[in-house]
């Protein structure tokens, strides 16, 4: 009775994606401006190689895995709370608010401690996300497409405020780097905040059933005894902390939270208990692939992974929109 075809299906994908993440990680460890082969670690170990591996390549690869997984899960949770599949943190103001927070830190107290910056960015993210959810509650929703549009307008407003401030304080270049995330500056000692994001992702996985219930709507949640408002508030905090940590470490990374959950739902549906592990793994794989592509395309220079994500992500988003035309209208 318990061995439904969907569960078998999910397990096969789980194995396939784990392998994919593993393969991409190995490639990621081998690719970079400086020539290195992981095998040399065994055949001709020297200080330069171990140094490069443990100070740069390994932290970068780990950061990619953690950021990709947690951002994809954050997107899924946000979609449950907004009850809409066409949104993700960078489309509703969550990311832009975090970037505004980081910008204010740079203006008010340059060189502020990392965890403090993270705290400020989280507070801004929470505010931005709550603003979006509040506006959403107050407008009549005639079509599912209204939801991302409202989010994009809000994100745009926050983005413009940041732009103006950055211009005033001559931080435009810094803002640009926060708005387009990349992992080229990630070294040992400069990515560990992402473990917080990963921990929060685990917490979200633990609460998977509750977030599925939230996705079914307020009445459904109330009927089964889930505190809708309380859990939504907690969900906003979880999503914001994940987003804030990635913005502080790497910058904005668009579309992962949108396309990964939408692709996974085609495989395993929306029961988060099954979907979250797949979403996390697929998020890591996408992030690794985007970063690798950025490192290889104009080697030895780099294209920020945010740009790769934006180009490929918007294409996939268009396909999702066109495929589900009837559903959204």
């Amino acid at each position: 009775m318990n061995s439904s075809p969907i569960k078998h299906h999910t397990v096969s994908w789980l194995i396939a994606l784990t392998l994919l993440v593993f393969v991409l990680s190995v490639i990621s460890l081998n690719v970079g401006a400086s020539r290195m082969n992981l095998l040399h670690l065994f055949t001709q170990p020297d200080d330069r190689i171990t140094q490069l591996l443990f100070v740069s390549r390994w932290p970068r690869t780990l950061a990619l895995i953690l950021a990709g997984a947690s951002l994809a899960v954050a997107g899924l949770i946000l979609q449950m709370m907004a009850r809409n599949r066409l949104v993700e943190p960078s489309m509703v103001g969550t990311v832009d608010a975090a970037a505004l927070g980081v910008l204010l830190c740079a203006i008010v107290a340059p060189g502020m401690a990392l965890w403090l910056k993270f705290g400020v960015a989280t507070a801004f993210s929470v505010t931005g996300t709550l603003l979006f959810l509040t506006v959403l509650k107050r407008i009549p929703l005639r079509s599912a497409l209204i939801v991302p549009l409202v989010g994009l307008v809000l994100a745009g407003v926050i983005h413009a405020v940041s732009g103006l401030l950055a211009h005033q304080f001559e931080l435009s270049q810094a803002l640009r780097s926060w708005n387009s995330g990349d992992f080229s500056a990630v070294l040992r000692g400069r990515y560990e905040l992402l473990w917080v994001a990963a921990g929060i992702m685990l917490l979200a996985a633990f609460l998977a059933d509750r977030f599925t219930v939230i996705g079914m709507g307020k009445d459904f949640a109330t009927n089964v005894g889930v505190n809708y408002q309380g859990l939504t508030a907690f969900g906003v905090l979880l999503v914001s902390m994940i987003v804030a940590s990635t913005v502080v470490i790497a910058g904005a990374l668009p579309f992962i939270g949108l396309i990964v959950p939408n692709l996974v739902r085609l495989i395993t549906g929306d029961n988060l208990r099954r979907a979250i592990p797949l979403v996390a793994l697929a998020g890591s794989a996408l992030m690794l692939a985007a970063d690798l592509l950025g490192r290889v395309l104009i080697h030895p220079y780099e294209i920020p992974s945010a740009n790769i994500l934006a180009i490929s992500g918007s294409l996939v988003f268009l396909i999702i929109l066109l495929r589900g035309r009837k559903q959204w209208a």
């Binding site: 079914m216 009445d219 109330t222 009927n223 005894g225």
Partner: protein, 255 residues
């Protein structure tokens, strides 16, 4: 027992429910009937704490619904609303399993699985149980939601127009199922019904609402009468006894 005292609901400046007080005794099947806009759904969703009341109180077996923790109430009372449009891709079995959430908080035990199987079996959903909700017809989806409420296995089961979207065969099946839940399992079932003949044939008690107020209440013999129904719906009706069941005719006025 469900006891409502002085229930009112105001949306902006319109009173949609005006000072309704009623008791629904434990056990049996109670139908709520009445014309559109009578406040039937509002009454049901206030009893089940889905909609906050503007005034008044509701107690379920002595527990005030606004003060009792939600997860405690969820073990005693279940509610299925009229519109259950979800964009989530869940399988029928997943949905029904969520009915066990108040009891197991997500960790399904063997007993939970038994309740899920039973509910799926009762609503004849066995062959669809691994299908996604969006792949089902409206009627099948409606039955899946009712199965979920059944697996919740609460003393009080409230359903807002459960016969919506359902064909004749399944409507009869649904009412028989609700009757059995009341007779064999001692559940108190409260349903909002639009088809008064279903209300007549299956209810122990009928509550008739009109204009946000309680208009009539009583047994089917007391309510399914042409004078009462003609007054309630403001159209000519006639009630006939057929095979021992009181049937209301109203489809075409006799000239």
């Amino acid at each position: 027992m469900i006891e409502a005292r002085g229930l009112s609901k105001k949306y902006h400046d319109t009173l949609v429910l005006k000072d309704v007080s009623l008791k629904i005794s434990k056990g049996g099947l109670t139908s709520i009937i009445g014309p559109n806009g009578a406040g039937k759904s509002t009454l049901l969703s206030m009893i089940s704490r889905l909609t906050p009341m503007s005034a008044g109180t509701v107690e379920i077996d002595g527990l005030d619904v606004t003060r009792t923790p939600g997860h405690e109430l969820a073990k005693r009372l279940s509610i299925l609303r009229q519109h259950n449009e979800s964009t989530l891709r869940l399988t029928v079995r997943d949905l029904v399993a969520f009915g066990r959430f108040p009891h197991s908080r997500g960790r399904l035990t063997a007993e939970d699985q038994q309740h899920i199987d039973e509910a799926i079996h009762y609503l004849e959903l066995g062959e669809y149980q691994n299908r996604h909700l969006d792949e089902l017809s409206g009627g099948q989806r409606q039955r899946a939601y009712v199965a979920m409420v059944m697996s919740q296995n609460t003393d009080y089961v409230l359903l807002d127009e459960p016969l919506n979207n359902i064909d004749m065969r399944h409507a009869v099946g649904m009412m028989q199922l609700l009757r059995r839940a009341a007779d064999e399992k001692g559940k108190s079932v409260v349903v909002v019904l639009h088809d008064i003949n279903f209300a007549s044939c299956y209810s122990d008690h009928i509550i008739a609402m009109r204009g946000g107020q309680l208009a009539y209440q009583g047994t089917p013999e007391q309510i399914i009468r042409s004078d009462v129904l003609s007054d309630l719906y403001d159209i000519p009706t006639s009630v006939h006894e057929l095979n021992g069941q009181r049937i209301c005719m109203y489809f075409r006025e006799l000239i």
